[in-house]
Symmetry: C2
Subunit: 247 residues, 2 copies
């Protein structure tokens, strides 16, 4: 049971089944399961809805329909409205990133709805009046009209990110420690001398360039093993036909 | 000129014109203009591409096509690959949020490409090998397959957010200062006594509940003006027919 299970996405007066399907997939990507449709006004292309939902068919099939926005959010203590319009009673909007932690906290104690209006005109003033919080997605002022499923995705992404549930892949190889990196540098110094990349009297200077390259990022033990292998093979090649240093 | 102008989105082997159109819109939402197609494999439904691009037709029309990924990124100092697959050479992935500030810094000095693979199988190992950085979008482990345009949107959103270019709407009314809020509380105390909501001996206690309500959020001057208006009108109503306190 995740705190996200207490959050539902409410689509109000949605027009296009294609958007509905893409909303389902976006929700599944971000661990959200509960979808409500309030007074849907859909074009009836359910085949497209299913196709765009891809493997998120369960979200699509488990949707709950309500005849009005009021009914859809009746059980919710927190009702978040999303808006791109401004106006006297829409000035106190927050971004999804600002609001997400508070919404998760509230979802731990009661039901939270996040509502998205019609593709062509969003939520009405009456619907905004039912909301306890208002969200506005930060977009470029040159092009503010965002697709419905894209808007849902961004809000869902901020909620999912705020849970901290995402686990980045763990590198199987540990970061290499200093002693091993110094050993690597020594091996490269010897190899570079033997293959004739540099002469002894220039070696200190040249090795600073190599060290700069080696210090561009954190190397793993595996990275160091690969570079040590290069040094060993270079030395072998030099012993079996290396060239004299160029002047 | 925004630093985002030095970033281009590269779609590799894209199959569906619908996705292409939605990518254009998502890019425009987040202030990105430069789109490259590398070895596109499109279904040819350009009408759908234009319809889904909505008002982002300029992004669609200004796309540049290349016969290979290598050609598409040839001029870029930084090439970011996106991947959902894991594997020995994909372990050092970062999230878009982690990487965005560094990418903007690098875009100030040279061209940056952010590449997205085929809808069905992503970027190949050969293409990953051309990348200087790898990105992985944090998604729920239950459903990791994300739509192409949704993936582009999230990466573009993190880049746009990291620019700090988004300006939240400014409330026209300042936050109310303490003196004005105390005046409001006094007016409500008088009004609540006069309309018979409470008796004088209970007033201190009752007013703590009212003050708790008033302290739930930051009120603006406009908010306080509305609540002062309620107090004035209540007192007027009481003077013209108020009731005695109930016991």
């Amino acid at each position: 049971m995740s705190v996200l299970d207490n959050i539902k996405i409410v689509l109000v007066g949605t027009l296009y089944c294609g958007n509905l399907g893409q909303v389902c997939r976006a929700m599944a990507n971000m661990g959200l399961k509960n979808l409500a449709l309030a007074a849907p006004n859909l074009d009836g292309d359910w085949e497209l809805a299913e196709r765009f939902a891809v493997h998120a068919q369960d979200v699509l099939r488990n949707r709950v329909e309500f005849s009005s926005f009021r009914d859809a959010v009746a059980e919710c203590a927190v009702v978040v409205g999303t808006t791109v319009r401004s106006g006297l009673y829409r000035q106190h909007v927050k971004t999804p990133r600002e609001l997400a932690p508070a919404l998760l906290e509230m979802a731990a104690h009661g039901k939270v709805a996040v509502a998205f209006g019609r593709e062509d005109k969003g939520l009405t003033n009456e619907e905004i009046a039912c909301c306890t919080h208002l969200l506005r997605i930060p977009v470029d002022t040159g092009y503010e009209s965002i697709n419905l499923s894209q808007a849902v995705l961004l809000c869902a992404y901020e909620l999912f990110s705020a849970t901290g549930e995402y686990q980045p892949p763990i590198e199987k190889s540990d970061p290499a420690v200093a002693a091993r990196k110094l050993q690597l540098t020594d091996m490269w110094r010897n190899m570079l001398l033997e293959i004739g990349f540099m002469k002894e009297d220039k070696a200190d200077h040249m090795m600073q360039g190599i060290q700069r390259i080696f210090s561009r990022g954190v190397y793993s033990d595996d990275d160091v093993s690969i570079l040590m292998g290069v040094a060993r093979q270079g030395q072998w090649a030099a012993a079996n036909g290396g060239k004299e240093p160029k002047d």
